[in-house]
């Protein structure tokens, strides 16, 4: 479920000209990511009750930090909530976030954004058309689950995002061993009209691919294109695989696992879910009508053999800890599961997981930060995806008259763009337009752009 709200009326976005005052409650991974992405253009105040974290942030980012309880009015006042335009409550505690928003509303007209884990608050908020003094709510469990489900819909994908109402797809693929695409040049592999190879992530570098760039095993490939072409390319990358992972086994009964199962059920699939605790298994079985819940230890080889878990198309590890998820994923690969997707709570582990053979690692905090940043991004940005834990972003921008792209062929304007920026796709009046050198961008077009994080602000400001 993607949530799209109109930009808040009291925030005047205009090509980065106006600075808004943002108060962020919670300086954890989510709060810090958001602060980092907003600091350049806005006045950011971060509140956290952990002195050390506050201290760290003061030196690493150009933001004002306050140590205190973000749910108390006095701390919010100290942060200047009366003059703030935006409050983002992103602590790890759902109730604190909601109370912080409600408290802020008593003293200010700021637009409030709350991060929650549990989907029940999201359900209430949606059913009531807004509640708790929260203007926008983001559920990290749901977002992580959505990301996982998108990823397993595409073979070899590590991240998938959709833009322009589903007409454009961005996918991040790992090039697996033995892939027919490995060793070929980009020009060779690109037999598609509606697909752009936006970037190659190789070790710590970002390579903007040219026709002669050779694709190697272990590379990460970012492509932007029509959903059909992206899917076909995924098939090229890993031939012989069932395109749609239909036989899904979820290991672990966390709330994210429940959301994944629910989303798969909505697609008409019948996933299997393995949970160790019998009482929790029973509870899940009652909540998930179309999921076969099994009460067992997922590391029990006899059990895995008996249930033929090795024959599954995808195993999703969503246990309580990163270590267990890693173990479960590796065990699944060992017994022959084609793809594994693991939930990773610690964002730094994402690359590590993928390096040791986990098909894709999904971090709920990344997904949450992405959703909130998408919402606060300055300018005409409609949508954003974070690539490879904040090394790069993919943006969807609506072109207005001031844009440097407007009315010019791409070949001309490309020279004025910063390096390591790729225009991946254009949609015009709801149809897909493949960007070529001679394509003239028109006002009203939606352009999907790949850009490295350090040039994002410049790109967003000029396009």
């Amino acid at each position: 479920m993607e949530i799209h709200l109109p930009a808040p009326a009291n925030i005047r976005y205009g090509s980065g000209a106006v600075h808004v005052r943002v108060v962020i409650v919670g300086a954890g991974e989510v709060g810090s990511s958001i602060a980092a992405s907003l600091e350049g253009d806005h006045e950011v105040v971060v509140i956290d009750n952990d002195a050390e974290r506050v201290n760290d942030l003061t030196y690493s980012l150009d933001v004002l930090t306050i140590e205190g309880d973000g749910a108390s009015l006095s701390t919010l006042r100290e942060a200047g909530i009366e003059a703030a335009d935006l409050l983002i409550a992103s602590t790890d505690d759902d109730e604190t976030n909601i109370v912080a928003c409600a408290t802020a509303k008593t003293a200010s007209d700021a637009f409030t954004v709350a991060r929650v884990k549990q989907t029940n608050y999201l359900d209430t908020w949606q059913a009531a058309g807004g509640a708790f003094g929260v203007d926008f709510i983001v559920s990290s469990n749901l977002l992580a689950a959505q990301t996982m489900v998108r990823v397993i819909g595409l073979p070899a994908a590590r991240d998938v995002d959709v833009f322009a109402e589903g007409r454009v797809m961005m996918a991040e693929f790992g090039v697996p061993e033995g892939s027919p695409v490995a060793g070929r040049t980009v020009a060779d592999a690109d037999r598609f009209t509606e697909l752009t190879f936006a970037a190659l992530l190789r070790d710590d570098d970002i390579v903007i691919p040219e026709g002669e760039t050779r694709i190697e095993v272990g590379d990460e490939l970012v492509v932007i294109g029509s959903p059909e072409n992206t899917r076909t390319f995924a098939g090229d990358l890993t031939p012989g695989r069932d395109e749609d992972g239909r036989d899904v086994v979820i290991v672990g009964g966390s709330e994210v696992a429940v959301e994944v199962a629910r989303l798969l059920e909505d697609r008409g699939l019948h996933p299997r879910l393995i949970e160790r605790d019998p009482a929790r298994a029973r509870e899940l079985a009652e909540r998930l009508a179309d999921t076969t819940v099994m009460a067992s230890d997922a590391t029990d080889r006899a059990f895995l053999d008996r249930e033929h878990v090795g024959d599954a198309d995808v195993v999703i590890a969503a246990l309580g800890s990163d270590e267990k998820n890693l173990l479960a994923s590796l065990l699944a690969s060992r017994i022959g599961v084609a793809r594994t997707v693991a939930l990773v709570e610690t964002a730094e582990y994402t690359d590590l997981f993928e390096a040791v053979g986990v098909g894709a690692a999904v971090n709920p905090r990344d997904a949450t930060a992405e959703e909130i940043i998408r919402f606060t991004r300055d300018g005409d940005t409609e949508n954003v995806a974070i690539v490879d834990h904040d090394r790069a972003e993919v943006l969807e921008i609506e072109i207005d008259g001031d844009s440097m792209l407007a009315g010019r062929p791409i070949r001309e304007s490309a020279a004025d763009l910063p390096a390591r920026v790729t225009i991946g796709a254009i949609t015009r009046d709801g149809t897909f337009v493949t960007p070529r050198g001679d394509t003239v961008v028109e006002v009203g077009d939606h352009v999907v752009v790949f850009a490295e994080t350090d040039v994002i602000d410049a790109v967003a400001g000029t396009i």
């Binding site: 079985a285 009652e286 009508a289 076969t292 819940v293 099994m294 009460a295 008996r306 249930e307």
Partner: protein, 515 residues
């Protein structure tokens, strides 16, 4: 002896209150008796005695305080006492006037219990207005109507002192596993159920008498048009006509079928439909299974009758059915609906059917109506849960670690509830088997031969509150020829079946009476 932990005085006191108020219903036949000039002393005396018994019992505990245990006792005793008190008109009619099989206490109790439990099995030797007064035959119909929606439910609806423990009382009495509270106040729920019940009864009366006025039902005079709805809606089956519904035209038979179906439906569904949720009918698993079973059985029986294999005796001896589509369909639908809902009417003597058709009806006696309906037997919802949990057993045999809750229309059925359903179904079958053996032995003892099939059908028909069985206890005959001991056993079975075994059986456990 350890001290009793059940305040039986409180239970008995409340039974007295119920009996006292219930005596008012005897005024209806009294008015009829006065206007027809027959049996007036019978009902005047019956009224006086019943009020006396009610008041006397009430004296046992003038301020009853009902706990959970007393509730069970009160419900079980209410039904027993009401059946006993209900014998009064039969006994007095025999005392004051003409000769009647019902003058014997065992027969009177059998008839009274069969009435209140909406069974419809009769030991009335000669059912006709020539032998019995209008008032007496109307009383017989009325006992079924009172028993249909439940005497305790009626008491909860009317008596304010039952409002607190009412839900538990209704639970012990109402058919099916657990009651559905429709409104926050239980008395309001009870009133809603009784009003719906009354509404259906009045509509059916209007339709039947309308048919008569329109000339489509010559025999359905005013007395019959009032009498039959009183036993259709409680799925009772008594009729003041010896030939049951065979005595009436095809139009009458077609009209009665949907009312029997409605009587076997969960009344809560009607309440939801009236509250703007008619789609509940489509969503309800039990209702879908119920209509499905009726549809399939009707189609099979109709086909058997149509081609003639369903007719056991000389085809010339039965009404035209073979090769007649409308007749075959009508008689099949009527009998199937009547047996599945446990009404017990007959549009023809199904004793004349062949073994395959008869066996279908015998097994249909175990199906029963829906939970929350007025029907008896095991009930559709229990069968659905049993089948679903059996399917789960097969699944977990292959996947031992699988945790799969049994769902009923999206709702999870608790494991405790499933256990209760298994226990009930098993007990039902145990009582059926044991009682069948007892009946066979008892009838053999006096040299009155019944076949095993007939004994089985008689037990299934009384335990399931169906009414007519096969052979001598067939729809056009009576249970009169069974030995008295068998009749007492069947009376017990009817009581047990109406209260769904457990509330009665729990009274027989020592743990109930002590700490």
């Amino acid at each position: 002896m350890s001290r009793l932990r059940v305040d039986w005085r409180a239970s008995l006191g409340l039974v007295g209150t119920v009996v006292k108020y219930l005596s008012a219903t005897l005024l209806v036949p009294l008015v009829v008796a006065l206007s027809h000039g027959a049996d007036a002393p019978t009902f005047a005396a019956a009224f006086a005695i019943t009020v006396g018994i009610g008041v006397a019992l009430e004296r046992v505990d003038p301020d009853p305080d009902l706990g959970a245990r007393e509730g069970f006792l009160m419900v079980a005793l209410t039904w027993l006492t009401v059946a006993l008190v209900g014998t009064m008109p039969y006994l007095l009619a025999g005392f004051f006037g003409g000769e009647s099989t019902l003058a014997h206490p065992v027969n009177a109790l059998f008839e009274s219990m069969s009435g209140f439990t909406t069974t419809g099995a009769t030991v009335m030797g000669d059912i006709s207005l020539d032998r019995h007064s209008h008032a007496l035959l109307l009383w017989r119909q009325l006992t079924q109507w009172l028993g249909g929606m439940g005497i305790v439910v009626l008491a909860v609806a009317i008596l304010p002192e039952l409002s607190v423990g009412g839900a538990q009382l209704m639970d012990a009495e109402a058919p099916g596993p657990g009651i559905e509270k429709l409104t926050p106040r239980i008395a309001e729920t009870a009133r809603v159920l009784w009003l719906a019940y009354l509404g259906f009864t009045l509509v059916e009366m209007g339709l039947l008498y309308g048919l008569h006025l329109a000339g489509l039902a010559p025999n359905m005079d005013f007395f019959n048009a009032v009498s039959h709805p009183l036993t259709t809606m409680p799925t009772g089956g008594f009729s003041p006509e010896a030939r049951s519904i065979e005595a009436f035209s095809a139009a009458v038979q077609w009209v009665i079928i949907p009312f029997m179906i409605a009587a076997g439906t969960n009344f809560a569904l009607f309440w939801h439909a009236l509250n703007g949720e008619p789609e509940r009918f489509v969503r309800d698993t039990e209702f879908r299974s119920y209509t499905g079973i009726i549809g399939v059985l009707t189609a099979v029986v109709a086909a058997l009758l149509f081609v003639g294999t369903g007719i056991g005796s000389d085809p010339a001896a039965v009404p035209p059915i073979v090769g007649e589509f409308e007749d075959a369909a009508r008689h099949a639908a009527f009998q199937v609906v009547s047996i599945v809902t446990t009404t017990g009417y007959a549009s023809m003597d199904f004793n004349a059917w062949s073994a395959p058709a008869k066996y279908l009806l015998l097994f249909a006696m175990f199906i029963g109506g829906s939970a929350g309906s007025t029907g008896g037997a095991i009930k559709i919802v229990r069968w659905v849960v049993v089948l679903k949990s059996l399917r789960r057993e097969l699944f977990t045999t292959v996947h031992p670690a699988a945790v799969s809750p049994v769902r009923l229309g999206g709702r999870v059925v608790g494991e405790r509830a499933i256990r209760g359903i298994y226990a009930f179904t098993l007990l039902y079958l145990v009582f059926f088997s044991v009682a069948t053996i007892l009946i066979v032995v008892d009838t053999w003892r006096i040299g009155y031969e019944v076949t095993a099939f007939e004994a089985m059908s008689a037990v299934a028909a009384t335990l399931g509150n169906v009414g007519p069985a096969f052979g001598t206890a067939g729809p056009m005959n009576s249970y009169l020829q069974f030995p008295r001991t068998s009749k007492l056993l069947m009376t017990f079975l009817m009581w047990l079946g109406r209260l769904e075994i457990l509330p009665v059986l729990v009274l027989l456990t020592p743990a109930y009476w002590r700490t």
